[in-house]
C-alpha cells in the first residue's frame, strides 16, 4: 500500500489522488493524516504545507469525486438533438458510474458542511435544461430538490451502503425466518416474491441499477406530466 518514494515534490493534487486511493482501498475511517503521509513517503506535518488541515482534505476528496463526475458528463458529448429527459437521464447515469467506483462518497458528501464550487455550475446546467424544456422557475426549482442525490449518481440511502438489508436472506436461520414471517409478514412475503440477482455491483441496500432507474424515471415522468398540464 505504501507508494514508492518519488523525488518530485508533493502537491495538493498528489495528496488528493493518494487520499482517494487510500479511501477506495481501506475505507474512510483509514484516512488519517499520518497514514496518508506514510503512503506518500513523507511525514504527517508535510501535508499541512499543501492543505490547511483535515477538513480541507475531506473537502478535497468530495471535490475530486465531483470532478470525476464532471469529466464523465463532459465525455457524453453534445446533447443537441435530445429531449430534456434523455439529457438528464444520461447525466445521472454517468454520475452513477463514478459513484460505483467510490462507494464512500455519498456518506462523505452528506457529512460535509460545504459544497464545492463546481457543483453550482453542474446544477446550473441541469436547471438550464429544465427551463429550455419549458418549465417555470418554480417547478424547475422543486424538480432540483425532488431529484435529490440522483444528479450525483446514487439513490437515497438512509443507511450506509454496507448495511445489512441486502444480505437479509443469507444470514437468517430457518427458525429466525419463521419468526420474521410473523413479525414482518409483508417484508417476508416480498422477499419471497422477489428474486434478486446476487452479486451485482451496487451502492448498497438493494440499490441496484434497476431501482435507480425506476426512481429516476418515476420522477422524470411525473415532472413531464406537470410540465404538460400546468407548467
Amino acid at each position: 500500500m505504501r507508494a514508492k518514494a518519488s523525488r518530485e515534490p508533493l502537491s495538493r493534487e498528489r495528496v488528493l489522488t493518494a487520499a482517494v486511493a487510500l479511501v477506495d482501498a481501506d475505507g474512510i475511517a483509514a484516512l488519517t493524516m499520518r497514514r496518508l503521509a506514510a503512503n506518500l513517503g513523507v511525514e504527517a506535518m508535510s501535508l499541512y504545507y499543501h492543505l490547511p488541515g483535515k477538513d480541507a482534505l475531506l473537502d478535497g476528496l468530495v471535490e475530486s469525486v465531483f470532478q470525476e463526475i464532471g469529466a464523465a458528463v463532459a465525455r457524453l458529448g453534445p446533447q443537441d438533438g435530445m429531449d430534456w429527459r434523455t439529457r438528464l437521464r444520461q447525466r445521472f447515469l454517468a454520475a452513477r458510474e463514478v459513484m460505483l467506483r467510490h462507494p464512500w462518497a455519498p456518506g462523505l458528501m452528506g457529512s460535509r458542511p460545504t459544497i464545492p464550487a463546481d457543483v453550482y455550475a453542474y446544477y446550473d446546467g441541469i436547471l438550464g435544461t429544465l427551463i429550455e424544456a419549458g418549465f417555470s422557475y418554480r417547478i424547475a426549482h422543486r424538480a432540483l430538490h425532488a431529484f435529490g442525490s440522483l444528479p450525483f449518481g446514487f439513490a437515497q440511502e438512509i443507511f450506509s451502503p454496507t448495511a445489512a438489508g441486502g444480505n437479509l436472506e443469507v444470514e437468517v436461520t430457518e427458525a429466525e425466518m419463521a419468526a420474521m414471517a410473523e413479525s414482518l409478514p409483508h417484508l417476508t412475503a416480498m422477499v419471497a416474491a422477489e428474486i434478486h440477482d446476487a452479486g451485482d455491483p451496487t451502492l448498497g441496500w438493494c440499490d441496484s441499477q434497476v431501482e435507480f432507474e425506476f426512481t429516476l424515471d418515476l420522477l422524470l415522468d411525473g415532472l413531464d406530466r406537470l410540465r404538460r398540464t400546468s407548467v
Copy 2:
C-alpha cells in the same frame, strides 16, 4: 450544560437521553465519551458499563430518534378509513416533525453501518399499506426504494444541512452577483424569480416543508398512476 448530580445509577437509557440532549445542543462533533460522561457527572469509563463503546452509542442515538418517529406515528391513531396515499403522507410528515428537532440525525443515519431492528417493522407497515392498496410486490419494492429517506421525514440532502446554498443571496456582494449571473445564468435567474420566505425552520438547503411535500406528492402521484395502469 452539566446535569445536576443524581444519586440514581446510570442506565443505557439515561446515557442515550443525555447523548441526544448533548448532540441537540452542541452538534455531533461534541459527542465525546469524556464529555458525555462529564454531563452525567461521571467518569468516561463508567459509560462502558452500560454501552460496549462509542459505536454502540451512535447506534443508540439513531435508535432513539427512530423510536421518537415510531411514537409520533403511533400518535396518529387508527388509519382505517384512509386511502394509502393519505396514510403514507401522514406518516412521513409525522416523521418530518421529529427530524426537525434533530437536524443531525440524517447525517448520522447515513454514516451508520447497521440498521436498528425496529426500522424493519416500520418498513413492513409501509409495505403492507402498499400491498393492501393493490400494488404488486415488485412495484411496492421499488416504491420503497423510490421513497428513499421520506419515511424518515427528510428529503434528499446531498450535502449537510448547514451547507451554504440557502444563504447564497445574503453573502454575495454586487460584483460577485454580476459574476454569478455570467457563470451561473440559470441559477441566478431562478433565485431572482423565486422569493423564499426567510427564517422558516428547515432541515437545510431550501429543504422547506413545501419542497418536502412536493417531492412526496410527485412520488405518490407517480406510483398511483403506475398502480392504475399496469399494477
